[in-house]
Assembly symmetry: C2
Homo-oligomer: 347 residues x 2
């Protein structure tokens, strides 16, 4: 590199101070939601909803547990954090409107890096139609700490809980499973290769989809809009973030039902199968326990079978609820019933 080339700027946070940093970040934040009465810059955010009920979710993202900065770009991390937060609001059949972002920063970080993280948050805010309306910024001794609170609104009668599922209801799932987990496995493999030989370039070609599913997942805003458009009110709903097995069990427990899921109906992307094969992992196990999918799992009365097939073609009907005495199980194509357990691979 010639000395005349400009190095990327690295401004120490200390040069601005905590308040200066917050001021600088806040200046770039635009409020676009009519429901935001007061955003960043007071003791609390103030919002006013026309619809009757307020929905609030919280997500904590910790370095070393939820993300590895070795291979996670900060902009992607900001986007993913917002996705994780709004996904919980969609899972209530509600519309997210505001987020509060809390950040604990250790000494490694410079102002430009925090701005990268914020850039990702702001792209996500634009995409999901939410305002960044507040939060807390502090020093951390121990790694990057992120927390997101999301507030949203819904008419009370439209809110869908985990507990409303009825026996015989169809179990519906958006998107596909296990891809984010396989994307993570790929990144972890390449990290190990790099650790062994830092001159090796990571081999990530041909795996765009699973990498995107891990690094920049999307929450299912589209599905909530489609459900509303076709006047479909699920009887119960949950977002799949801990793995299908675990989240289906939560839904069953709250709805006091059992469940039968048909193994051959589990939606798994071809890249997920391909990498699973390459690194000798069972793709179905990744689909059941991998987590981080941010898909929606919901139930509807069986009478809506045709409507779901016709109006929500991207949704798979993967099984149905049953009496609680029948338990929760996965049915193989040769009709073997395997009990569903919540044991994931992760923690």
């Amino acid at each position: 590199m010639k000395t005349s080339e400009k190095m990327p700027e690295k401004t120490p946070i200390a040069t601005l101070g905590a308040f200066g940093l917050i001021d600088r970040l806040a200046k770039t934040v635009e409020l676009k939601q009519p429901s935001t009465l007061k955003g960043i810059g007071d003791d609390a955010a103030v919002v006013r909803y026309k619809k009757a009920a307020t929905v609030v979710s919280a997500e904590l993202f910790l370095e070393g547990i939820h993300f590895d900065l070795t291979y996670t770009p900060l902009k992607h991390l900001g986007y993913k954090l917002v996705t994780a937060g709004v996904s919980d609001i969609y899972a209530m059949n509600a519309t997210p409107r505001q987020i509060l972002l809390s950040i604990g920063l250790d000494k490694r970080f410079c102002v430009e890096e925090v701005e990268e993280l914020y850039a990702g948050v702001k792209i996500a805010c634009e995409h999901y139609g939410v305002d960044l309306a507040g939060g807390d910024t502090t020093t951390s001794l121990t790694g990057l700490t992120l927390h997101i609170t999301v507030t949203g609104e819904a008419p009370e009668e439209n809110i869908v809980y985990r507990s409303g599922g009825k026996q015989a209801d169809l179990l519906c799932l958006t998107g596909d499973l296990g891809a984010a987990y396989m994307g993570l496995q790929l990144l972890e493999r390449e990290k190990r290769v790099f650790d062994g030989n830092p001159r090796k370039q990571p081999q990530l070609e041909g795996y765009n989809y699973i990498l995107q599913r891990h690094l920049k997942p999307e929450a299912r805003k589209d599905i909530i809009e489609l459900l509303a458009q076709h006047h479909i009110l699920p009887t119960s709903m949950i977002d799949v973030s801990d793995g299908l097995a675990s989240d289906a069990l939560h839904l069953c427990k709250q709805s006091n039902c059992g469940v039968r899921i048909y193994l051959e109906r589990l939606p798994i992307a071809s890249e997920t199968f391909r990498l699973a094969d390459e690194i000798h992992i069972d793709a179905v196990t990744a689909a059941l326990h991998g987590g981080d999918d941010y898909e929606l799992l919901f139930t509807v009365p069986v009478a809506l079978y045709d409507t779901i097939r016709k109006e929500l073609p991207s949704v798979d009907i993967i099984g149905h609820l049953c009496p609680p005495s029948e338990g929760a199980c996965l049915l193989t194509p040769d009709n073997q019933a395997i009990a569903l357990t919540a044991q994931g691979w992760v923690g």
Copy 2:
């Protein structure tokens, strides 16, 4: 100790698993607020307020930055976290109703310790009249991580912002300043003594007040109730958590005013003076920059002077707003003006 005596139980969190722990904690949580439609156990909490506006605050508490577990009992820490959260809601002249508590736990912690933390949170919930309605629980690699989101309500026209202060308004302050900071200095001193000689018992006698101010501070619910009772609507308000100097400057900046604060009117408790003297710290500096006070700083029109003196005798009138051109300063008894700066001792 005789072997027949029972050791306190230490159940590893792994024996319950994350979901088991959440279930166990959730079982002990009662919902008491009519505005809580759905608490712990779904993707998000659901609340419904009768009043027009929803107020939301966020506080991140990190080990090593906000607390030191060497001398902070977990029950007190839980209480203090809630105090810090609701204080922001009171500072908007609003009523807190629900909290969402997010916790990152590393391997050191056992189930009983998490229950201790929750016990403190629940005592605070009872005291402030809020429901524990949700949150997130996760593993941490790096110390105890706590985050609280508080939601509350207020009629829109009653919300008090930092920005409403007018020139000549009286500057009012609840409680006293610098005590929490001096409590922290005392605990830090005794920690150093203990580190040097673990057989020494900590010398904390005679300092109950400053210790309580650090370990179990109270948010000023009482003041918000008194203001409502006497139909006093402050023109601006902020909670004093970063130190009076810093928070008064925030209020001035947002209100586009200068401020004059009279040094001899700063309320400082006798224990604060006593320890300051003992360890050679300037008590006024502690009052201005110490932080962690959780008092309310607010402004009212000068016409309310008599009302404040009569109806809120525990509130001190410490100065007044002035034109922004006059800046922000502290006036000494001999009429010297010292410019107010936000430079605290802490970070």
